[in-house]
Symmetry: C2
Subunit: 345 residues, 2 copies
Amino acid sequence: MEKLTPRRRRRMQRVTMAEVAQAAAVSPSTVSLYLRKPGQVSPAIGARIAEVVEALGYVPSFVAGGLAAAGSRAVSVIVPTIQNDFFAGTIAALQAMLEPAGFQLLLGNTDYNPSREERLVRTALSWAPAAIVLVGLEHGRGTKRLLLGTPTPVFEIWECGGSPIDTAVGFHHREVGATALRHLAERGRRRLAFLGARMEEDRRARQRADGFTGAAAAAGLTPPLILGTRERASTEAGGRLLAEALAVPGRIDGIACSNDLMALGALFECQRRGINVPGALAVVGFGDLGFSASCVPPLTTIRPPSEAIGREVGRLIQERLGVAEPPDRPGTIDLGFKLVQRRSS
Amino acid sequence: MEKLTPRRRRRMQRVTMAEVAQAAAVSPSTVSLYLRKPGQVSPAIGARIAEVVEALGYVPSFVAGGLAAAGSRAVSVIVPTIQNDFFAGTIAALQAMLEPAGFQLLLGNTDYNPSREERLVRTALSWAPAAIVLVGLEHGRGTKRLLLGTPTPVFEIWECGGSPIDTAVGFHHREVGATALRHLAERGRRRLAFLGARMEEDRRARQRADGFTGAAAAAGLTPPLILGTRERASTEAGGRLLAEALAVPGRIDGIACSNDLMALGALFECQRRGINVPGALAVVGFGDLGFSASCVPPLTTIRPPSEAIGREVGRLIQERLGVAEPPDRPGTIDLGFKLVQRRSS
DNA sequence: AGCAAATTTCGTAGCGCTGCGATGCAAGCC
DNA sequence: GGCTTGCATCGCAGCGCTACGAAATTTGCT
């Protein structure tokens, strides 16, 4: 029984580790060891291997490596949208932490759709990533089941206060809303409104609105007007919602927005209508985006720890690298936020 | 010679395809076939497999699959930065095209650093992606060598006019600059300036500036003032550069910016100084970002085909899926751009 | 020098899956 | 009936690499 047709399989790589080993006159194990832990190989042989790698243009296969090592150097990040400076900042910071360690980011965006989130989590797990990062503490049944059943570390970011699957890194959105309200109250504002985008889907925006309302009650103020829109945050929506708020009887004198982009739109609307900010209307945003410090007037806003979240998660992932067990119990890291007062309030 | 210590290796998966096969009383090949091409398996057996998959919570391993199939369902995307609405839009569109086909995006950002680009390309290739997407036509020596040596399809996006490695999908930035200039000239502006960010690193911003200058010469105008900054585009930088431009003797009456964010900053600066736009100064941006239609005054800008690039690349990747050979010769797809006139000019 | 200990190198057995050809079996044809 | 044809299913040999333990070599110590 001999091979009649020698099976010819499609090859993936041009140069394999075995070829490098042969050219350097060492065993494949040594090449592998050198590539992973150069310190454990004698300098002479190391140099020889390095030379051959360079000469042959060898590129290791993470696919094969991941299979053999039962785990890849990839981190799955699943966010609602990347067209949003909040998450983009976190992702960039995370990437900056992870890149030196040779990690790759696997990106997915759910567009605030739970069933897409589940599909993405499933795909993510198929890659056997070193960790999986997703936004928020609320997930669909199926998603939760998938995540609870995996040994992969799970990081839930940009939210605090619920019960995380593994580790949460974020801050309290209710507290953000309450802070905005207290600030406006301190500035003497009494008739307030909250302008939000995507309030149905974005639980965190809703939490900020709730915190705003709650703090108003605590301060003995008239319940604030809560206005929302289905669309994503934009200056256009901000302008439109402000117009709506102004049309309501009983003149408002202060607003908070779920996003600086909305706040900027409100500022534009004020400019169009000749409303003095902060004289007639105080405006507080959320996000401290690129333009917030230099618009007219500069925007008072609440700065979330976007980059800090990315950095912290990056750090935790590396810390957990070798560790097989998840921590004894789920943990939450509250990174807080900061009110940045500028001239719009 | 018997196994004294039965080698125990770390397992990657909780449930493997073999276990699914056993539970469904079929061979692993059939499970694999069903998962990849359900139509080629009889309905009865297909249903049985589906049931077992669900019951066991089986998640296939793309790592093992990719190794066996010599190629993975991942697409590497390497951009200068994701903190920029331009590229974020392209990535989102690409993701939307690819997600239904089960692809994953591998993201990297170079921060406009060529050596980081090379490192990222190397990492990307290690994943044996179905395609690799990067921004621009200019790459370091090493990067180019890596890309020329791979059978993986390479897409260079957001630029046209050079010689692509494989396929380019973008538009002409020089032409963007020229269009901005011609528009300003038509509106009767004669003393012009161009405000750019990251001009050293961002070749495309430079090309827009060059096109602006070139068209000015062609129109017989005084050579425009070209002002740049090292930092990334921001309203703050836009305001500062406008201040610089206004300080130069010989009053300017029209500006073009390398980015709508810069243009917005210029508008803010005008507002602060009481300069009438477009009366005393016409402003043209680039990007048509979210706020551009609703700022004060609404911004005339040039809209790049951000999403169209993503969609087109997504389409091309799927088209190339089974095909082993790259197209006969490199190709370029010019998606054009559009001047959107609003009230700032 | 002689021996134990430490360090460096190697051989081998998979990781979980897919592609290829083979096999079995029912249907179609002369 | 004997033959081909077509279809569904199966068996097996890897894909390229890493973990593990063992072998070979060097080092340290008396």
